[in-house]
Chain length 525, copies 2
């Protein structure tokens, strides 16, 4: 479990030939060894050649074998023990407890997909038996199942070095679907990536799978990423990161001779709507909860509540005072990378110099390098509607409170928002009519709607949606968290009049997998 | 039921202000009245404004009301009687029996989607109940359902004036999903389009739905289509037509500030593989069946078998002789439009002048305007592999037979093909090992695989896939025929900790719709 600075191209550890990137410990601004020389387009081609060679065999693995593979990855990650935890803490500046929790989530996610694979509902097996006597024309025997799209390129995220990275949700769901995965590691945590990559590669070997099922590449510029998304053997892309980064990959994917789907999770300011009765009855508790959610993980969560909407007046004024008091006690927190810290400072500076937003409060000042100070700004709905700059995501612990003149203006702001990962409603019973009136708008705007909670904290379960209309994601039809994430990497194939011996096992006459298939329009028992 | 030459913008019949287009009777080359003046970008905006205004109310209709609407459309189309049939025959040159069959299929499709809507499985309702005692963190109550994407732009196809046009599969599935539809009528059959459009508009009125649920626009240039796909209120596109036309719409959709999904069904040559034992045992019957499929509807079917692969030798030689004999008796058939006829002539001419393809047989010569003569060409696998021009779809009754030196070359050709709607295998028991070896390749290449049948004739049922990898379609994840087509126009939304009174009815605690929801990982009974 020593770090080598090498990429994994199938089972081979290979040193890149471009300039080495080093992780930085953002808490100390010190560079961490080893260096990770970047890969080239030739390395990408090698990984894709292996992935393509592995594809047919891997997608044909039994449900049991594929599930066992996912569970083996989880066991191998657990077995990395403190080596992984220590490195991830050093590379991200995130608290140890947070990284421990994230490891638990990552392994639980892999085990969840193992359960999903075994249950086989994702195959969406459909059987329409032949109707040879039908008039005026007989019906053929028609059967449908879902098959894997092909090798998937996964781009690790900076802010979840385990759960949205090398063996995170995109990788787990693509592997569950039967797709080989080629990961481009995030440059912020190459050591964590190498450790997890080694764990996955060991699982590939232990399970006797073709080596091309998994590769891990490094690279600090655009070369590796563009080559990966351009490679004709790659058939889909998973990405979590910035809007500009995600859109650049979408452009590359669209310009290919064969365009491919890109699932990019990009940008969200996660509006929180405080309805009048709730704000009046428990404004202080809401303010406390809001600041806790805003400052969690230095605000570096995709679902960070960056925008609060409420009716102007004494109740909102008091909420702002209470929130400000809580914020003042929040320590500055080390951000993930110097680059993210600098972008945060720029975002805060833009709000500070915006004449239509005023600073209500700030947290404690920085005590060390790359520490982001929390801020709370206030503006009016009128200004928000007029100034697109006020909608821009500031990735970090800064939020904007929007004073709305009345119900109509609150709805106007909601309607004006771009697509979001989440929208949150704080309401009491007497707010229900107002909330109900806004619900159709919010359903059109966001992938997840919450009542009386906070959007940070994304459960891995069947009903989760971590997705949403553009620009929250590049494809609102999917989710990148939860078991439905597997559906992104599948396509349907129909088999007409196949002899039983040639049918895929999921569609066999005797239903050997005991699936609850859609048989002649009815769900099998 | 008189033709007016007017568009339908909601419930209003509006005359376009651009140059009028006239349908041509391709059998006589005569222009048909009335003229259909084209719409402008302003008309598009009006239709989209209405569609947007209707969206929230329409997607919130009960399953029963929405199903009844689809059934009412079917009844209204049936009620058009011979007026519709006569006009469609005149505008397309297709046989009356074919148009009658297509009407039946179109109405059956609408009624199928009514059944699908009522059954509600497309909602994919998921419920993960709260786990307040869970350690280390409680789980919230999480529920997921599918919601409609938004207004959908539908581009009617030339070759199915009813089943892939104004109230065809794209429209039926989008309406079933809860999406208002704005149709751009195909310029080849404006009268048919107006009649069907009037039927849909009457159904909107009878069912008391907001008028923006359906609009129908005309236009001969790019103005209407580009404006429609560019309109920010349009959230998805359905298209059936040429590769160049589909790709142009994909580019427009990708360049929007908010990109949207395009489901374009474009181009397929539908390879047919004749395996050795089958070819030996029943080559004559195969030749007869092949020519019947090839010449059906003047070869103007998306699933027309344009490429035949088999091992070279005496059995294939005999197949070619027999097929040629059958083809020689096939009359030339009127094609859909002068433009399609000219494009067909150019495609045939390109094959005729290609030194690596030789003409094996032709059908009877033309007896009237726009009549396409059937042709059969032969080439070798080696030449096919070397010359991309030999892969180009010739839309009409022309096919290319490819002589393969051996099994390896047959597989090489299959691997070399672009994405397809269908791939067909003719085999006997002793061919099964060969077929099994090729199956993984074919699954990667096509949306539907057939054994011992012909690809023309696409059943509307649960298991159908009319789709496939690029360039068969722009999005292999969907099908444009069959009940799964509804899934293209949906996205998931998650509801966290919602009070029961605020939940959508599909997710209510008491399961009032009696859906078989995924409850805590188990399918409800």
């Amino acid at each position: 479990m020593t770090l080598t600075g090498k990429m994994l191209i199938g089972q081979r550890a290979i040193l890149g030939s471009r300039e080495a990137l080093h992780a930085m410990n953002p808490a100390t601004d010190q560079s961490l060894e080893p260096g990770y020389p970047g890969g080239t387009a030739a390395h990408v081609a090698q990984a894709c050649t292996l992935a393509w060679a592995a594809f047919d065999a891997y997608r044909d693995t039994s449900l049991e074998n594929r599930a066992a593979f996912l569970e083996t990855i989880a066991s191998e990650i657990d077995a990395l023990g403190d080596t992984l935890i220590d490195r991830a803490v050093a590379e991200t500046g995130l608290a140890r407890a947070r990284i421990l929790g994230e490891r638990g989530r990552t392994c639980q996610q892999l085990r969840s997909f193992a359960r999903v694979v075994r249950a086989g509902q994702w195959l969406d097996a459909r059987v329409d038996p032949a109707l040879p006597q039908r008039q005026p024309l007989p019906r053929a025997d028609l059967r449908q199942r879902q098959v894997a799209l092909g090798p998937v390129a996964v781009f690790g995220a900076s802010n979840f070095p385990l759960a949205f990275s090398v063996a995170g949700g995109d990788t787990a769901s693509a592997l569950a679907a039967g797709c080989p995965v080629v990961v481009k590691a995030h440059s912020a945590h190459p050591g964590t990536s190498e450790l997890v990559g080694q764990a996955v590669a060991r699982a590939v070997q232990h399970c006797g799978l073709p080596e091309g099922v998994f590769s891990l590449l490094f690279g600090s510029g655009r070369e590796v990423g563009v080559a990966l998304v351009s490679d004709p053997r790659v058939k889909a892309v998973g990405f979590t990161g910035s809007r500009s980064g995600g859109l650049a990959l979408c452009d590359v994917a669209h310009a290919r001779p064969e365009p491919i789907p890109v699932y990019a999770e990009m940008s969200s300011i996660n509006p929180v709507l405080l309805f009048p009765a709730a704000l009046r009855a428990r404004g202080d508790a809401l303010a406390q909860g809001f600041i806790a959610s805003l400052t969690q993980g230095a605000g570096q969560l995709c679902t960070n509540p960056g925008l609060v909407l409420a009716h102007q007046g004494a109740d909102l004024d008091r909420f702002i005072v209470t929130a400000s008091a809580h914020l003042a006690h929040c320590p500055a927190q080390t951000m993930l990378t110097p680059g993210i810290y600098q972008a945060y400072q720029q975002g805060v500076s833009a709000l500070n110099t915006n004449s239509h937003a005023h600073l209500a409060a700030s947290g404690a000042g920085a005590q060390g390098p790359n520490q982001g100070q929390a801020h709370l700004f206030v503006t009016s709905a009128r200004h928000l509607l007029a100034d697109p700059a006020l909608h821009t995501e500031v990735f970090g612990a800064t939020a904007l409170i929007v004073q709305c003149a009345n119900e109509a203006e609150m709805r106007q702001v909601a309607e004006h928002l771009e697509g979001q990962l989440t929208a949150t409603l704080h309401l009491d019973d007497s707010d229900l009519p107002l909330a109900r009136a806004l619900l159709p708008t919010l359903e059109r705007k966001a992938g997840r709607l919450l009542v009386n909670g906070w959007p940070t904290g994304v459960e891995v379960c069947d009903a989760m949606v971590h997705g949403g209309p553009f620009p929250a994601t590049s494809d609102a039809r999917g989710t990148s968290v939860g078991t439905a994430a597997i559906l992104r990497f599948l396509r349907p194939v129909c088999y007409q009049d196949f002899p039983d011996s040639l049918l895929p096992v999921a569609l066999g006459q005797a239903n050997p997998l005991h699936l609850r298939r859609l048989l002649d329009g009815q769900r099998e028992a």
